[in-house]
Symmetry: C2
Subunit: 131 residues, 2 copies
């Protein structure tokens, strides 16, 4: 069992669940805790970031069930927010950095969502191999 | 504060830290807890998976410091395993599924690493936008 403490929170115009495709069309702000703001040093050199967040509005999960498009899938074959560990990962575009605030484009997280990590997107780790 | 319980563990020939590029050249096995194995239903339909894991061998972190290639960066502008929440995310190729065991290619996680989530790689969430 591990304990995770948020590094910051999302500010978004989305207060309630909406389709991720729609949410990803909007900009939102990530406010990092002031005491962790030094961790953002030179983050503006990255065009894309991976945001790891916690689906704090999500309750419970089914191991197997119909998914977004109605087909039955296991939870690990799905991006459902209802998961054993309700963690979300989304790649966003970094628009602006001001002190401890990041403006990003493409984050599918509701207003108030706890952010648990931010990483620079890196082809070497994140891109599927292309044969 | 959130509590995270591993969904399974990595079996790898890497018992000690090695450069991620080298680790990613090898196959490893993810063993899912038997009680969660139904969550893998139809996962074989995905060629690529995102593995979210916990750097349990990592101790402490610096908010700012020299990184892999010697340049100074904030921890959120780095993929260092030494992070406020020591979570790793890597996209791997799914080679084989046998019961509760996944053979994957390209996972940079040591033997025994706790796995906390698995998601199908999805361009819509994970691929940087290309203008």
């Amino acid at each position: 069992m591990f304990k995770i403490d948020p590094i910051g929170f999302v500010e978004s115009s989305f207060k309630e669940s909406a389709p991720p495709e729609e949410m990803r069309k909007h900009q939102s702000t990530i406010v990092i805790k002031p005491e962790l703001a030094d961790g953002l040093y030179k983050i503006e050199r990255n065009q894309y970031l991976q945001i790891i967040f916690y689906f704090d509005q999500s309750e419970g999960y089914n191991l197997k069930g119909p998914r977004y498009h109605g087909k039955e899938r296991g939870v690990f074959a799905s991006r459902s927010p209802r998961r054993p560990n309700p963690i979300g990962v989304t790649t966003v575009e970094l628009i602006k950095v001001e002190g401890n605030k990041l403006t990003v484009d493409g984050l599918d997280a509701l207003d108030g969502t706890p952010v648990i990590d931010i990483k620079p997107y890196a082809d070497v780790m994140d891109k599927p191999a292309v044969d």
